[in-house]
């Protein structure tokens, strides 16, 4: 029988711990306890199990052993990894496709409740592709852009267009390596084809297509998703919001939106502010409707509307256990099937909405963008109707929440560093070049119940901040830092090294920048590209002192993200277990693929993917990489406490002096 962990080993988040104690009291299982019971298969976990055909599954556990068809261990690992990347890329890209269709519908006035909210971004994006913008209505431009974007998915030949936004040198490299994706769907289909029984059986060759498939995600489907979301719902800019279970309100109808796409959740936000709905909620005895989010849906509405985040991936069950959630509305990705069973212990309704996602036992109200607002209201009314079923005795809402300042789109970052007139990445590049900022870490990805929730994320983040590394986050990692208070300007004064503190204070930023949902990792690609273009940090992404980390990864999307980042030149470190780790202590050469995606890819793309379970080693590797890139650029080696003289501290001290002394201290002897 596997060992059951202590509650404090499950999560470092006190709100989560409180709910897990509650779960114990109620005798309810969660992902945390199921992880204890479900020991991962060590052969499948190492990528050594092939179940591609009916001759197997073949589990390879000895040196030199092959599958029934003769497939070697590294071929099997490469195929498994590539299939996971294809699945992850498919998830992001299908999200992107839906957004492109939504843009088309909105442009043609066929999408109830939607409008083009960010015309400036529409024009900028459209003009990148040579779409005529002068003298045209936003709807006309949007229609052309939507057509272009829709065509990227089914395109058979040529090059997917968003990738022209990468640095010139990088584009050249992709062409040389023949990995520039032709069409999003085509690369995913080909990945599945190649990994079918009896096809591509050269591991490096298979993995080269994994690169192409992943690029179709990062510089294709995902980028389209981000662009369209911004155009329809507004490009994020900093806004005050909150995170953690404490945002659930006892006196209101609580609706938790969970999943990934902003199309429905934005409509629910709009509907929740509709006087008709507010009145409907009042009539039901509640003080209105309180919305909150889980997972990346949370990120989407947090960064645009300031709607609070109830938590990240592992909070989905815990939110229901507050007993105060009338409905959890879900769309796609990362939705645990366990929710339905869990909800049966409470009055909570699980409402599925995507035509692609039904869960046995859940209420299904299918979303249709043509009637979005009507459906959103219907969903809210369903939730409000459920308010009367809430059992007050079962309500336990942790009084724990933290303020956050999310909303750092690359457009805003550009603005914040110079205002409307002098917007650029120059101050950021300068800060890196001088050594005030040692480097940049993008810390992204999921929660994983096999490690303590948020522990790896926050351990790495906190230490890197002290080392003057500016952190940008997306997805569930972002919410982890938000819950800890790291996404506030105040943290920029107290939680960081002295050089980074100067930058945070100069710009007024938190030391951890929330850049959006997991599909928004493309924003990080854009930031890196703009840093290259602003000069001083080399001429391609792989030269920038930056590193990507996903300490608590679990989804296939994370693997796709990692791979497109590697193909873009980034060093990516994953925590937890490697899906292609092999068993090198028992099976010779079972780590060939593991080495290939590190050293092999680094030779080709300047980026590499490595799996490092220990957070301290993760930090060491990240810093070593950053320092190596600094040295290669000829930048001064980072020194602790070299900077930090400027800022308000001295002023605050003097301002606190008694009036008569203060004047002399600040202004010196008065002028004659």
């Amino acid at each position: 029988m596997p060992k059951k962990r202590e509650i404090k080993e499950y999560s470092t988040d006190p709100a989560a711990q409180e709910m897990l104690i509650r779960a114990d009291e109620l005798g309810i299982g969660t992902a945390f306890t199921r992880a204890d019971h479900m020991v991962p298969c060590n052969i499948g976990g190492a990528g050594m199990c092939c179940k591609q055909c009916g001759m197997g599954p073949c589990r390879l556990t000895k040196s030199g052993e092959t599958g029934v068809c003769g497939a070697t261990l590294d071929t099997i690992q490469a195929r498994n990894l590539t299939r996971a990347i294809a699945a992850g890329g498919a998830a992001h890209s299908d999200h992107g496709r839906d957004m492109a269709f939504l843009l088309k519908a909105a442009a043609n006035g066929e999408a109830e409740g939607y409008s083009i909210r960010d015309v400036a971004k529409l024009r900028i994006v459209a003009s990148k592709y040579g779409i005529k913008i002068e003298g045209r209505a936003p709807e006309e431009i949007a229609n052309d852009l939507a057509e272009l974007y829709i065509s990227q998915f089914g395109q058979q030949r040529g090059e997917v267009v968003p990738a022209i936004r990468a640095p010139k040198k990088r584009q050249q490299l992709w062409r040389e390596q023949k990995v520039w994706p032709r069409g999003v769907d085509r690369e995913v289909v080909e990945a599945l084809h190649r990994t079918h029984i009896g096809d591509d059986q050269d591991p490096a060759h298979i993995l080269n297509h994994a690169i192409r498939t992943a690029l179709a995600d990062g510089w294709g489907g995902s980028m389209i998703a981000t662009d369209v979301s911004d155009i329809l719902f507004g490009t994020p800019a900093p806004i005050l919001g909150q995170a953690n279970l404490g945002v659930i309100k006892e006196d209101m109808v609580n609706v938790v939106v969970h999943g990934h796409e902003p199309s429905l959740s934005e409509m629910i936000v709009a509907a929740s502010q509709d006087p008709e709905i507010i009145e409907y909620a009042r009539a039901a005895g509640a003080n209105g409707v309180n919305l909150s989010g889980i997972c990346c849906t949370a990120n989407e509405i947090l960064m645009r509307q300031g709607i609070p985040a109830a938590g990240n991936f592992l909070h989905q069950e815990l939110a229901i256990m507050t007993g105060a959630v009338e409905a959890m509305v879900v769309d796609v990705q990362c939705i645990m099937q366990a929710l339905v069973g869990l909800a049966q212990n409470f009055h909570t309704k699980i409402i599925t909405t995507s035509p692609k996602v039904k869960i046995t036992g859940a209420t299904h109200i299918e979303f249709d963008e043509h009637k979005a607002l009507t459906i959103a209201k219907q969903i809210l009314k369903t939730a409000i109707d459920n308010f009367k079923s809430r059992e007050t005795a079962k309500v336990r809402i942790p009084k724990i929440k933290e303020d956050v300042i999310p909303g750092f789109s690359h457009e805003y970052i550009n603005y914040m560093l110079g205002g409307s007139y002098r917007a650029s990445f120059r101050p950021l590049n300068d800060a890196i070049m001088s050594g005030r900022i040692r480097g940049v870490a993008a810390i992204v990805g999921c929660n994983n119940p096999r490690s303590s929730q948020d522990y790896l994320h926050n351990t790495v983040v906190k230490e890197l901040l002290k080392q003057d590394v500016l952190v940008v986050q997306t997805g569930c990692g972002a919410i982890a830092a938000g819950k800890l208070g790291l996404m506030l300007g105040e943290a920029g004064l107290s939680e960081v090294g002295s050089g980074l503190r100067e930058i945070c204070e100069t710009v007024g930023i938190p030391p951890v920048l929330h850049m959006g949902s997991c599909v928004d990792n493309t924003r990080i690609l854009t930031v890196l590209t703009q840093m290259v273009e602003d000069g001083g940090l080399g001429d391609d992404i792989d030269q920038i002192p930056a590193v990507g980390l996903a300490p608590e990864w679990m989804s296939e999307k994370a693997l796709a993200i990692a791979t497109y980042c590697v193909a873009s030149g980034a060093y990516v470190i994953f925590g937890g277990a490697s899906p292609v780790s092999g068993m090198p202590d028992r099976v010779n050469d079972s780590d060939l693929v593991l080495k290939y995606i590190s050293e092999g890819w680094e030779k080709l793309y300047g980026g590499k993917l490595e799996f490092i379970p220990d957070p301290q080693k993760m930090i060491e590797a990240a810093l070593a990489h950053i320092d190596k890139k600094r040295a290669a650029l000829g930048l001064p080696a980072w020194e602790k406490d070299k900077f930090g003289r400027s800022g308000d501290a001295r002023m605050r001290e003097l301002e606190a002096l008694p009036l008569e002394v203060k004047r002399e201290a600040i202004y010196g002897a008065t002028a004659d």
């Binding site: 900093p238 110079g418 205002g419 506030l488 930058i503 100069t506 004659d672």
Partner: protein
Amino acid sequence: MSKYIATRAIRGANALVTEAEIMLNKALKEKGADTPVSFPNTAYYLPTILGMTGKAVEKLGDLQPVLKYARDLLHPIPAFAKWTPYLGETLDSGMATLLAAEAIEAIRFVYGLQPEPMPGFKLAGGTSFTSPDNSLTPSPLPLGEGAGGEGRLNGPIDDIQLRSWGIQLVDGRMPGFAAIVGCAKSNEVAVKIVRELQRRNILCFLSGNVNGRSIIHQLMEEGVELGYDTYTVPFGTDTISAIYALGFATRSALTFGGLKPGQSREILLYNKERVFAFVLALGEVDDLKYAAAAGAINFGFPVIADTVIPEILPTGVTTYEHVVSMPFNQIEGRDDLERAERLVQKCIEVRGVKVKVSNVDVPVPYGSAFEGEVVRKADLRVEFGGKHSRAFEYLYMAKLDEVTDGKIEVIGPDFSAVEPQGHMDLGIVIKVAGRQMQQDFEPVLERQVHYFVNGASGIQHVGQRDIAWIRISNAAADKGFNLEHFGKVLHARFHEDFGAIVDKVEVTIVTDPTLHAEWLEKARAAYDYRNKRLADLTDDKVDEFYSCTLCQSFAPNHVCVVSPERLGLCGAYNWLDCKASFSINPTGPNQPIKLGKQLDDRKGYWQGTNDYAKIGSHGVVQEVSMYSIMENPMTACGCFECIVMLIPEANGVMVVSREDTSMTPAGMTFSTLAGIAGGGLQTPGVMGVGKYYLISPKFISADGGFKRVVWMSSVLKETMKDEFRAVCEREGDPDLLDKIADERNVTTVEELLAWLEAHNHPAMAMEPMF
């Protein structure tokens, strides 16, 4: 920024925009929306507003959308806790402050409150200097109509001054400007700060006050001359008037950078990269000063304060630190004067200003900021030359072993015996030697005497050759300046500036009457010889011209082609100067252009000049004609001395002087015309030129030459009368000069045509110009 600064700057910005709105509403009610608004003598309307928004404000009503725009740039002040970022927001609010400040000054002009009245104040110098007493020419700008006059501060700098400083700004002699805001610790410190900046040839723009006292008051009390001539310009005693510094910066980009109104980002980056300016805040920094400073940071201009303010040391929006605090009392130094010196050094370091300081061993301050200084009769100790005595300067080359480097000899009595405000004869004879020295360089070097001698504070030099006119002030004499010091100045500066061609310099100062007469005769023989040599030096006698890209740091696509018969448009570089400059610095801005095949002798096309025009202009200009205004005329940066422009109806051209502010028959003033002529663009029918090109036989010779001149600013006609008479003789029409109209009698095309008819001007009978 920091939150402290952001809070104050944004608060100040909100307050100023509101103030501007209130003032505008009042003015609209009292004066009406159609009341014209403008700054004096500028073609750039309200320049900051024009540059940043592209809006040309001509009437009070035009200010409404500007202030609306400014309000939209404002932001709320950062929250006490859990703030959102504020850097971009503060910079935007700073820009709003600048737009509002300029609007306020424009409204004040409408009410006659600008330039700021200051009883008893007199500006040093008008727009151009011709006589020590400023008496030979009338002041070009009547009171209240432009830059100063009696009883008022300067207000905004006009286009004329901007352009006349142009060459110094572009060739680096004038590294940049200091916008000084507030009040120094003491008068002594105020003077020292300004002197230190002047010593480095940095323009000082003065504004602001602390509790009512301004550095302008401090300098006035100490008798420091303020005005264009001393590079120290008093804008006004409030912070709002500091906007004039940014209007100057904006116009630099429009005038010399070829940028267009509304290209705000480019204009700001131009300033960050090319205009070395900074803000020096003296004394308490209040909300409005923070707000204005935030506006200045948009231009890449850092802020240095002599009080405790939060420092912003990271870089990016500015090239080096953004905000630096140097509390005056904490600066290390023996006394306040040394502290002031250190403060200025810090400013220069923070902006990265490139400064060349001449170390000249004389008992008075030295630097080109003192070049324009006037010694008035009341301050005069002694003068050489002018009406009552004769002064000359003569430089010649000798063999290396004939020159004793550093030897300075005064032959004859010094001026101790001369009564106050008296005069005596003086000769300055300079003997130089060097392996690279050529006889052709003698006049080039000799003309430097004017600049070198003028650099000494309290010494004034006018003219050249045997019409030199030198004055020594009482202040300089009291500090011990004597005749030998002329030698010291010249020896040091020739070595410093012309070290590549001059190895040895020996100076003899002659006051002994017999010897003076002897040397004067020798000098005159040399002048004659040089005149003949210069007259013989024609375009067809040389096989190379010179390029001049001196101002490409400011006007990136402009290139001058300098030939023996066509000097540079700034008037500062002729063919010999370029040749000397090339010898001094073979990789410098003056490069020989091998002429190669002549393609058209009438219009002046050579294979070599065309090829060079393409390269030098980075492909913007394809061909350049040396002798025509109608076909591929030479481009201009912005610092030309005159503009020549076609008047189609008159079948001729007019010549407008930089000093002329009046209306021309083209319906535009010099300032407006300059916008068409400058910026490195080729515009047939319009050309910026050096005034001595007018007397060249090759002056628009392809189009008919000097006979085409139908109108000319009177200031040119008067100051170059003798030269023009000779040209008229040469052209076979001795009375031609009197047939040329000027602004005193003709300001419209109709009047011009009538004049030409009445005076039988030859242009009317010439073949059509196009």
